[in-house]
């Protein structure tokens, strides 16, 4: 599904991503862990098209997307959520999802009928919100939501794009500890149900081991280790490098 090969990115003298290669197969949930500055967010930015690499390649569904613009990647089925929540603050929860659907179905050119008339879109948005347990809040604006709900909404928007690959950048950051598992439950259940592949950046090893098929450990821009969650937990090098974030 996703093949990343020898990816490199530096900002001036700082090598953010250094010769990174890995694969994600269809239906897999892969987590990336590592300390701050290890290059995880840069990696996601590269895969989602927000920045372009200095060298290396990214292939998605057998196509080279290395230098493709973000919106083209979205059309191909790669979407992402954000570490700092990026929502449409002035629109309702329902609208946040609806606009993603309109975009997905290529309907945003339609300028003459009211958006409300497209009832199939509304129904689909409602179904998505239901899946993510946000339906009761559909008419509120993001301001009124809890941190956890905002995060879930962010993921719901990415999900509405019918992606085959979902990039989640710290989906539980900023969420109260007792809510974290609930948020992950909502998100992962939908992902599993639809068979979507997912790349999750996380700090919290508990979360990671509970939900991932595989774990990749990044340190100072490079991949330190890769394997099943329990293998990684037992790995001495990993413990040394990311000491302090393992709970």
């Amino acid at each position: 599904m996703l093949i990343v090969k020898e990816l490199n990115k530096n900002f001036g003298y700082f090598q953010a991503v250094n010769n990174v290669s890995f694969e994600i197969r269809g239906g897999e949930i892969v987590s990336i862990i590592g300390t701050n500055g290890a290059g995880k967010t840069t990696l996601v930015n590269l895969i989602s098209g927000y920045i372009k690499p200095d060298s290396g390649s990214i292939r998605f569904s057998d196509q080279d997307i290395t230098y493709l613009s973000p919106y083209k990647r979205v059309q191909m089925g790669v979407s992402r959520s954000f570490q700092l929540i990026q929502l449409f603050e002035k629109a309702t929860v329902l609208d946040n999802v609806r606009i993603a659907l309109f975009s997905k179905y290529g309907m945003i050119r339609k300028a003459f009928l009211p958006a409300d008339r497209y009832s199939s879109i509304a129904r689909e948005a409602v179904a998505i919100l239901d899946n993510f347990h946000l339906l009761d809040k559909k008419d509120q604006t993001p301001k009124a939501l809890s941190e956890g709900d905002m995060k879930v909404l962010d993921v719901a928007i990415a999900f509405a794009l019918k992606s085959k690959l979902l990039l989640l950048d710290e989906p539980t950051s900023g969420v109260a500890t007792y809510d974290k598992f609930q948020v992950m439950d909502s998100i992962v259940s939908v992902i599993r149900k639809e068979g979507i592949s997912s790349l999750i950046i996380e700090h919290d090893m508990d979360i990671v081991s509970g939900y991932s098929d595989r774990v990749i450990v990044m340190h100072e821009g490079q991949i330190l280790a890769e394997g099943k969650p329990d293998e990684i937990m037992a790995n001495k090098d990993v413990k040394a490098a990311v000491f302090g974030i393992l709970s």
Binding site: S48, Y50, P70, Y71, V74, Q75, S79, R80, F82, Q86, L87, F88, E89, K90, A91, D95, R98, I99, A100, F102, S103, K104, M107, I108, R109, K110, A111, F112, L113, P114, A115, D116, Y118, I157, L161
Partner: protein, 334 residues
């Protein structure tokens, strides 16, 4: 079914009543005031389009006079070079086409940037047009400007009719029809998926791009639509004014358009229309009473921004919400 829904909705009922009243305005107002009202209506059209760009897409242009001028000069120049074709049915499309052309060119340059850069560019480009109109005086009449004769409308000729009579009669209804049409179209646009996409761009450009919305392209669409509205307003204005000058493209004139939109409030569709009406009278009042009318306008603008940032319509809406809340609690506490 459509009509029933509309009749049930208080907003549409209000629109209907207003439209009814507007039909009788020529009988209610003396000539001079009616002409003033017509100026207000033309600016209302400009404001509708401008609000699409500012309120819904989040771009502030201090150069919309350029598209207003494009429409106005399209009309005036047809009067000069193609007098035999001076029919409303040709003039309006010509104005729309010309203002569309100018907005595509200028817009393409501007939408690649945001915020300050965008504002400076939009402003500078309008001044470029201003300078061009000024300098090419053989074509455009330069600082003297051009006369705008009375056109034929749907074959009806107004030969020999004096302008005030034309304006208070047939032209008023034509203008009203254009205004209503523009309003309905804009209403449709802002509540459509396209309108939602624009708002998404305004709220969060990055997210919009990552949802698959091509931000630059949609900004350009919004820019061009608002440019055409300005051009239409300019063309309709030119008939009322009878005369067009290069000032229409000057950035200070564009500033007045921004002022109107702010005055009325750019959160609501109706805002700029209200603002246009109020500003037309405000400006006239100021000009009539003091030679320092710019001071008055400037001072009121500053006070407005500081005290009433969501404009008249915003303040009215807030008041309305407060009153409704008050009534609700009153009903409960028995």
């Amino acid at each position: 079914m459509e009509l029933k829904r509309m009749l049930g909705n208080p907003r549409w009922v209000a629109y209907g009543i207003i439209l009814l009243v507007l039909l009788f305005v020529p009988y209610l107002l003396p000539t001079f005031d009616l002409m003033l009202f017509e100026y207000g209506l033309t600016f209302g059209i400009v404001g509708l389009g401008f609000n699409l760009l500012l309120g819904y897409t989040g771009l502030l242009s201090f150069g919309h006079g350029a598209y207003f001028a494009a429409g106005a000069y399209a009309v005036a120049m047809m009067g000069k070079y193609l007098p035999q074709a001076f029919a409303m049915e040709l003039l309006i499309p010509a104005a729309l086409l010309f203002s569309l052309l100018v907005s595509i060119i200028f817009g393409f340059l501007c939408v690649r940037h945001t915020k300050i850069f965008f504002s400076i560019l939009a402003l500078s480009l309008s001044m470029l047009l201003f300078a061009l109109i000024f300098k090419l005086y053989h074509l455009t009449g330069g600082s003297d400007g051009l006369r705008v004769p009375i056109p034929t409308i749907l074959g009806m000729s107004f030969k020999g009719v004096r302008r005030p009579l034309f304006l208070t009669g047939t032209y008023y209804y034509f203008l009203l029809a254009m205004f209503t049409l523009s309003f309905l179209i804009m209403r449709g646009i802002v509540s459509s998926p396209f309108g939602k996409a624009l708002q998404a761009i305004r709220d969060n450009e990055i997210r919009a791009e990552l949802i698959g919305i091509r931000v630059r392209r949609y900004r350009l669409y919004a820019f061009c639509i608002s440019g055409m509205y300005a051009g239409l307003g300019g063309a309709l204005w030119s008939f009322v004014n009878g005369h067009v000058t290069a000032d229409l493209s000057h950035w200070v004139f564009s500033g007045e358009i921004v002022y109107m939109t702010l005055l009325g409030g750019f959160g609501m569709l109706e805002g700029p229309v209200i603002g246009a009406m109020i500003f037309t009278y405000l400006k006239l009042y100021a000009m009539g009473n003091t030679e320092y009318w710019m001071f008055v306008i400037g001072a009121t603008l500053i006070i407005l921004v500081l005290l009433l940032p969501s404009g008249v319509s915003g303040a009215a809406a807030a008041l309305w919400t407060k009153m409704r809340k008050g009534r609700k609690t009153e009903g409960v506490s028995c």
